[in-house]
């Protein structure tokens, strides 16, 4: 066995299991929470949100519609009713305000699956794979819009694993699970974070929406970084970290502004030095280097040992 470092282990040892997983837990709770808004109806007869992620009606007053699905409809030549337009406007506005790819990490039901695949891939120590470029998904986004235009139908919805999974679980269909398995295998054996990080056109769309959102991760404590590389190992979009961390000059912003960052908070969790934190877009604070005789958490540990 190679002495490969599992990201998060050191953080867990130093900070405890809960602190080293708190954002992951929060995300799982949120993902489940969104699902339960829809599932409480069919399961327990308590109707909160009806419909699916494609379009829904919450408590009979709040319409929500996926803007990308609606966009495909528009490209396919349909002029939707105002209800769908309002719903898409609300969703778009919310993600512009918070951050587009928050959808990917906090709402999308595929995320737990691809996270699991990434974990399995690390456990199996698979390093090789097909080196797709993250921008592939922009081409995918283009492709599904072209398909919608040519067919005059919302073609991608025939295979979209996200809505298929929600539909499958909420309306008792089973076929969506097959796509799920494909994605899982693709992520484990073909490309690291293959689906969410390279292919998914929905992620690409929400990436384009990810330019104004307030919720950001900051490498505020970057001077404490001891290059353990755990954040890179866990980050589903690892190219986003460097500009705020290692390649940043003293005056550079500590905020991770890359549109690919999903605000998943895993970098915060796994960092034993607590370099990262959630903050807002305009927070430019950077921690000052410690006074020469102060010890970092790790050096304390080393000394204690």
């Amino acid at each position: 066995m190679s002495v490969r470092r599992e990201p998060g282990v050191e953080a867990r040892q130093q900070l405890g299991w809960f602190k080293a997983n708190q954002w992951l837990l929060a995300r799982r709770a949120t993902q489940l929470g969104f699902f339960m808004l829809f599932a409480s109806g069919p399961l327990f007869g308590i109707w909160i949100a009806k419909g699916t992620l494609a379009s829904s009606m919450t408590l009979d007053v709040l319409p929500l519609t996926d803007p990308l699905v609606l966009l495909q409809g528009l490209v396919a030549g349909h002029r939707p009713e105002s209800l769908a337009l309002i719903g898409a406007g609300i969703v778009l506005g919310a993600y512009l305000l918070i951050g587009g790819r928050v959808y990917c990490s906090w709402v999308c039901p595929i995320n737990p699956v691809t996270d699991l695949a990434a974990w399995v891939r690390r456990k199996l120590d698979i390093k090789k794979g097909w080196n797709l470029k993250p921008k592939t998904r922009l081409w995918m986004l283009g492709a599904i819009l072209v398909a919608a235009f040519i067919t005059g139908t919302i073609a991608f919805e025939l295979i979209n694993p996200i809505t298929t999974l929600y539909r499958g679980l909420l309306f008792g269909l089973s076929w969506g699970m097959a796509t799920l398995l494909l994605i899982f295998l693709f992520d484990v054996f073909v490309t690291r974070n293959g689906w969410c990080g390279h292919v998914c056109p929905v992620g690409a769309f929400y990436g384009l929406v990810n330019t104004t959102g307030l919720l950001r991760v900051s490498a505020r404590g970057r001077q404490r970084c001891d290059d353990c590389m755990d954040c890179y190992a866990i980050c589903p979009e690892m190219h986003v970290i460097a500009p705020a961390l290692n390649t940043a000059d003293a005056g550079d912003s500590p905020i991770i502004t890359d549109i690919d960052c999903t605000a998943c908070g895993r970098c915060i969790d796994v960092c034993p030095e607590r370099v990262f934190n959630f903050t807002h877009r305009f927070d430019q604070r950077v921690d000052q280097p410690p006074a020469p005789n102060t010890m970092t958490a790790r050096s304390r540990l080393v000394t204690a040992a």
Partner: protein
């Protein structure tokens, strides 16, 4: 190459070449994926015979550009008529449909399914359920229908929510018994909503009366056809005065009837045809 020189790259700049190659690869991949999705979508263009769309559904092709497959119509239906299509059901995956013989549409006055539809895939212009055209009933199993056999079943007629308009009983002589009447259920497409109640209720093992998508059930005469008797009613008198009583030919009848002379038709007269 002139372009590359202008920009200051050597003609064989490897970086640029690689970038271009990559670009081409991605474009090709994109085209491939678009084509695959397009092909896949093409397969679910038309609706299988036993599946019907909810009330107010746009024509099939428009419907597929409009419906986001959210299932809100399904949730709104109090009778659990509607379901979302699964792979292999026939209709495009995720779109709502129903099968009349399983659960027909009860034709709710307030049409909750249409009201719930956020996109207008179910047309909000439909406010009177009697104007819905989900499909069209027709007596496809004529020879099995009990009424056609000379009995009095009448069930499909009795259950029809648009009774006496969408479906009537047409009386004809029963040639077999020579003394009874056949009460043939006849559907009138101008009033049939395609709700499927008749098909659901048909007492036979396999329903004799079926509701099919309009496209399959609805016959249509040519656009340019005019029905003389209707035109006559519209005009209020003969279309062409003083014409034309063509001789009636009976099967196997006499062939000694003189064909009418062209010169007797007004307007043609002596000049004849083609001059």
């Amino acid at each position: 190459m002139a372009l590359t020189k202008k920009k200051g790259y050597g003609p064989a700049d490897p970086k640029r070449r690689r970038a271009l190659k990559e670009m081409a690869m991605y474009a090709a991949g994109t085209a491939g994926i678009a084509a695959a999705v397009t092909g896949f979508a093409g397969q679910s263009r038309s609706l299988p015979a036993e599946t019907l769309r909810p009330p107010g559904a746009l024509p099939e092709h428009d419907f597929q550009s409009a419906c986001v497959r959210c299932g809100l119509c399904v949730r709104a239906c109090p009778y659990n008529t509607l379901k979302l299509a699964e792979f292999g059901d026939g209709p495009a995956i995720g779109t709502p449909y129903f099968v009349a013989r399983q659960v027909p549409c009860e034709m709710c006055d307030d049409i909750p399914c249409v009201v719930a539809c956020p996109t207008g895939a179910l047309d909000h212009a439909l406010t009177d359920i009697d104007n819905a055209r989900m499909g069209e009933a027709s007596l496809v199993g004529r020879t099995a229908c009990l009424n056609m056999l000379g009995l009095r079943c009448d069930v499909c007629y009795r259950v029809c929510p648009v009774i006496d308009k969408a479906i009537t009983l047409q009386l004809t002589h029963n040639a077999r018994t020579k003394k009874h009447t056949i009460f043939e259920p006849v559907v009138h497409p101008d009033a049939c909503t395609g709700c499927g109640k008749c098909e659901k209720s048909c007492v036979l093992e396999v329903a004799a009366i079926r509701v099919l998508p309009k496209k399959l059930a609805h016959g249509q005469i040519g656009e340019h056809y005019r029905l003389g008797w209707e035109e006559k009613d519209k005009k209020g008198k003969e279309l062409v005065p003083g014409v034309i009583d063509l001789p009636d030919r009976l099967p196997g009848g006499p062939s000694d009837i003189e064909p009418p002379s062209l010169s007797k038709i007004p307007g043609l007269g002596k000049t004849g045809v083609g001059q």
